[in-house]
Amino acid sequence: MTLVQPYAKLRKDLAQRDRSLREKVVSLEEVASFVRDGDSVGIGGSTMSRTPMGLIWTLIRAKRKQLLCSRCIVSSDGDLLYGSGTSDHIVTSWFSQGILWGVSKVMRHYVETGKARYDEWSHMAMGMRFRAGAMGVPFIPIRSMLGSAVVNQRPEAKEMICPFTGEKLLLVPALNPDVALIHVQRCDAYGNAQISGLQFMDIDLAMAANKVILTTERLVSNDQIRRTPDQTKIPFFAVDAVIELPFGSAPHECYGVYEPMMRHMEYYVDLVNNDPVAGMHEYLDRFVYGPKSWTAFLDLIGIDEVLEAARAGTTIYDA
């Protein structure tokens, strides 16, 4: 796969997308048809926040293979993608379940045995790669990563001397994923998406990608969007599919709506870190392949825990 796409291809691909103001609500099951095996997939949110878990869960169930995933910071979503065989290559700045739990044994197992690849960039470099993709330019110069061993692992990044100042700079290549998966709080049927709170790199990711799939806590009317257009962070013409999916980031959090479901996370981490292969199989069978629907998955997390997370999220939002 070409690291940086030629500008003519980038423009041609975008020109072919239907950018008209049209309704694009689909079911969660239909999402799988938007992603092909081997696609480059950008994932929104960061760590345990606004992770598009429902979409990842659906792609795992649909048995997608060899996805090249990129995300600013990866948590248990990366474990699940490796452990299910959905992805064998993740590009990110940090990959573990969360600082509270040490190093992910799943990530360690797959990377240390060479079964999967983890390309490490600095957090800002990830941001500038999506930004370059969103800007329609092939690279952006940055001043970090220089001098470190991180840059030695990344021949994709090029050092250059600034033609204006003579200073050393590092050029990071544009990242234009085939598909972006993003979870938001509110969105209309056309794909006008409103994000509350921490936006991470989602706006650049959406504008960089060649296809955008959104899950939303609430599907709202276009009238409601038009009452607060300043809150719209992703424009409809960048979006290809919209799915209403309450608790679509579970067991991770969604700003202002719910906090992470920590008991489920702790259960998960214990299980997979105890045995990254058998524990992961058990988790996938029970929580990903097993349930009939996303609601049935939430039911397995448990109503008490889901409501507790929702109460904590609301409290902070209203504080």
Binding site: M107, R143, S148, A149, L170, L198, Q199, P260
Partner: protein, 256 residues
């Protein structure tokens, strides 16, 4: 060492690190002890200390008992002045708005280089660690304070992998590599507080923690340290410092 049982190693780290931060500074804090120590500094002596988190937060005031599990969680935004994109907050480092970066580390060497990527050969690692996150950006672009437990396996002559650059190979090497700003400033451990020699850029003990001997520090360090007559002794954590700290982390999420 009678007072040793009065506080845990993590509590000592948090208190001594908090003392390094000054009111009015803009500090970019990582999760764990840095987040806790920066919040402690706000409560103790720095109401005007501005805390930045890489999730996209300017001016956070963390609530006692509601410590966030990462710097990307909604709890980080409580009473903040601004919520912005992750790339935007990281770019503040590059533009030069940040006075101090503050983070933990898995492994550090004589020039303050940090490794959070690989233990062993990167091509065939013994342990693949989580990676840099914003660590490389913070340490590349501003002055750094690092807080970590003092163990021989963590204090090595040369790190296996430079994830976050300190003074690289010492002298002018950091500048020559293209890193024109910032650099390692302080290392705070449960045994001592360190600075860096202005010329060689090697790690230099500034003060021993209460009840700790030079031999003890040297024994727990994988390379030779140069103590001098100027190496002092740090004041132990006060009852007030400890009670404010324990109030911030009543569940002992980060203070052990």
């Amino acid at each position: 060492m009678t007072h040793k049982s009065a506080y845990t190693a993590s509590e000592l780290l948090a208190v001594l690190s908090a003392r390094q931060l000054k009111d009015g500074q803009v500090v970019f804090a990582g999760v764990g002890i840095p987040l806790l120590a920066a919040t402690l500094a706000q409560r103790l002596h720095g109401p005007g200390l501005t805390i930045l988190f890489e999730g996209g937060v300017i001016g956070a005031f963390i609530e006692p008992g509601k410590l966030p599990p990462s710097t990307n969680d909604q709890r980080c935004t409580i009473r903040a002045n601004m919520v912005l994109g992750s790339a935007e907050v990281l770019l503040l480092l590059q533009r030069g708005y940040v006075d101090v970066g503050f983070m933990g580390g898995a492994q550090i060497d004589q020039y303050g280089n940090l490794n959070s990527s690989f233990i062993g050969d990167p091509a065939n690692p013994k342990i693949r660690l989580p990676g840099t996150g914003g660590g490389n950006d913070i340490s590349s672009l501003t002055h750094m304070i690092v807080a970590l437990k003092h163990e021989k396996r963590r204090f090595v002559e040369n790190v296996d992998f430079v994830t976050s650059p300190g003074w690289l190979k010492g002298g002018q090497t950091r500048h020559d590599s293209g890193l024109l700003a910032g650099g390692m400033y302080r290392v705070v451990t449960d045994l001592a507080v360190f600075g860096f020699d202005e010329t060689t850029r090697r790690l230099t003990p500034l003060a021993l923690n209460p009840g700790v001997t030079r031999e003890q520090v040297q024994e727990n360090t994988g390379f030779k340290l140069e103590f001098s007559a100027a190496t002092g002794v740090t004041e132990p954590p006060t009852t007030h410092e400890l009670s404010v700290l324990r109030g911030l982390d009543p569940d002992r999420l980060y203070i052990g």
